[in-house]
């Protein structure tokens, strides 16, 4: 029972409930929305967001931020896409993408941990540099005619209709979730984000953890870039721009606090589904999908404001209880609380 209570209090559950509630609401208006095939389409369509959001979640958990993910996605997609187009082996293309992602992550990590550059500024600068590099690499042209076999990967589904991609993303999210919450090293990430000084004092290598978070984030963006090539089939020089903000929004919708230490990758996954489903939901409600951004904005603002107000209410309540205990002690004439 206690375990269930604990589970219900988790921040991800609130986000999940919101998603379920919204889906049911849309289902009431248009029952065909709740068909399994449609829900699977929502999920499958959100796979790139999901991977980027999981990567960003690492960095945000440690209390930093990464806005270079969109550019990293674009560059790795362009490089991998062109390699596959030119008939290089897939392994080499995947390796190239991952190396790019890891390298961007290392540069970000060095800037933030060694040179102590505020993370938003460091990653903003790197965002510009990496985006410029993908222009240089592609010469401003689109990468097209990617091998059909590679594109077919994105369409391959498990029995039931879920794509292999989304299934792997889910498995990845669950594995990372348990690594981050159940292992000692995994919990370092949240510890660093929650209280840097405390983490330093108890001997957690703060710099190394942050560095590691950036590298994972970079690699995840690169993987997302590979999925992007496979799903979309072509890469424009601006591919992935705007993903950084959407990934952050997904994390926030999933209950991850931007001040660090709170939330989990499961939350990020749920948030990514929400982000990816909004335009579909609008279509089923017979609205134009032009309302996409408006709804995202309203949802984001509502959720964070509600979160802050609830948190404040909880703190106030706890304070009242503490106060009443203290006064009760004093009226009894003792100092039992000591």
């Amino acid at each position: 029972m206690d375990k269930i209570k604990h589970l219900l209090k988790a921040r991800e559950i609130t986000s999940l409930l919101i998603v379920v509630f919204v889906f049911l609401l849309v289902g009431l208006v248009n029952p065909s929305f709740l068909q399994i095939s449609n829900i699977l389409l929502c999920l499958n369509g959100g796979v790139v967001y999901t991977i980027v959001a999981i990567g960003s979640a690492f960095v945000i958990l440690t209390g930093e931020i990464d806005i270079s993910v969109g550019a990293t996605l674009g560059l790795s997609a362009a490089v991998a896409g062109s390699m596959i187009r030119d008939g290089k082996s897939w392994g080499a293309a995947i390796l190239a993408a991952v190396v790019i992602g890891a390298f961007v992550g290392i540069v970000n990590g060095i800037g933030v941990t060694v040179f102590r550059i505020p993370s938003i500024i460091m990653t903003l600068g790197i965002n510009g540099i990496v985006r410029g590099m993908s222009y240089v690499y592609t010469n401003g042209k689109w990468v097209e005619n990617v091998q059909f076999e590679f594109k077919a990967l994105a369409q391959a589904t498990l029995p039931g209709g879920m794509t292999y991609f989304y299934f792997s993303a889910l498995v990845l999210a669950v594995v990372i979730f348990f690594l981050l919450t159940k292992t000692k090293k995994g919990r370092y990430f949240a510890a660093v984000g929650d209280n840097v000084d405390g983490a330093t004092l108890i001997g957690i290598p703060v710099g190394r953890i942050k560095m590691f978070a950036y590298i994972i984030c970079g690699i995840m963006s690169a993987v997302a870039g590979l999925l992007y090539v496979s799903r979309v089939g072509f890469v424009t020089p601006t591919a992935g721009s705007g993903y950084e903000m959407k990934a952050i929004a997904a994390c926030v919708l999933g209950g991850i606090s931007l001040s660090g230490g709170k939330g989990s990758v499961i939350g990020a996954t749920i948030g990514a589904i929400t982000m990816a489903s909004i335009s579909r939901i609008l279509v089923f409600l017979q609205f134009s999908s032009d309302y996409d951004n408006t709804i995202t904005g309203v949802l984001l603002i509502t959720i964070v404001v509600a979160d802050v107000l609830l948190e404040r209410h909880r703190k106030e309540k706890a304070r009242r209880i503490r106060l009443s205990v203290k006064t009760a002690d004093y009226t009894l004439g003792g100092n039992a609380h000591e």
């Binding site: 800037g111 505020p118 500024i121 240089v136 020089p237 929004a249 032009d290 802050v308």
Partner: protein, 333 residues
Amino acid sequence: MNNQLKKIIFRWESVLVLLLVIEVIVFGIINPKFLQISVLLGSINDFIPICIIALFVTFVMITGGIDIQAGSIVGLTSIFIGLLWKDLGVNIWVAAALSLVVGGLCGALSGFFVGFVGVQPMVITLGGQFLFSGLAIVITKLSATESYKGISGFPQSFTDFSKGHMAGIPNQVVVFGVLIILSYLLLHRTKYGRSVFLCGVNRNAAEYSGIKTSLIIMSTYILTGISASVAGVLMTGYLGTAKADFGKELTLPIITAVVLGGTSNTGGKGGVVGTALATIAVGTMRFGLSMSGMNTQYLDMPVGILLVLAVAVRTIKDNPKILQYFSVRKRSN
């Protein structure tokens, strides 16, 4: 005297001036056309929205916040003016004035949540960015004009305001100049400005000393919103069309300019002079590089490098311990 001179030389603003001078000399050597005053002044027209908004985002960042929604307000303003003028037949100047109110309201919404509710500025303005750019698209659909074309055909007097010159200086530069002076006076010469700084240094202390910090913080977002609308009005007039996606790519350049200008993103430090110089330095660099034959699409790269380098140098200067870290490392190796 010597000390005072040192103080001036080692100010961040002097570094920016030096950077600007170097840029002018280098680009002047590469392409002598660059040195013509009219070309230089004309180039400012292209990045004036960044300059104007960055001035007031400085206020927000001094209070310890950040504003990433300003770019989307530019588009909203632009399409709002277009709709009022074309579909509702409102006088263009009245429409422009109303759009400033809209910008202020947009800023007030986020400012309220940051100041009074205590939501993180980054998150709430991210939400605002989605919301306002979304609203701009929704408004476009209300108009009879096809959205991809944009609304055009504005009265001559309106477009002339943005394109025109005053004693040889482009009107937009004049507006920028006036806003620099206004924001300088407001931030560095008034009680309000002191409160803005104090909110960033220590909000609790400011609250205890009788400053209504929530209101001050909210006001900085309102100012930014209004400045974004001013930029939107100028941009609409200069380009002669109203479009929902104006300003979409301004967010990152604005933050770059403010940070490069010496304002710390943790609050309490900074100034509008630095921001103004930084916007001009970045703009001149982009313009100079493209005049020297660099592909415009590559321009994000040098700007990114400049940003990272400048901030790295500044953090090391403030924090010499970082260098020690390296020397210790070497010894232990």
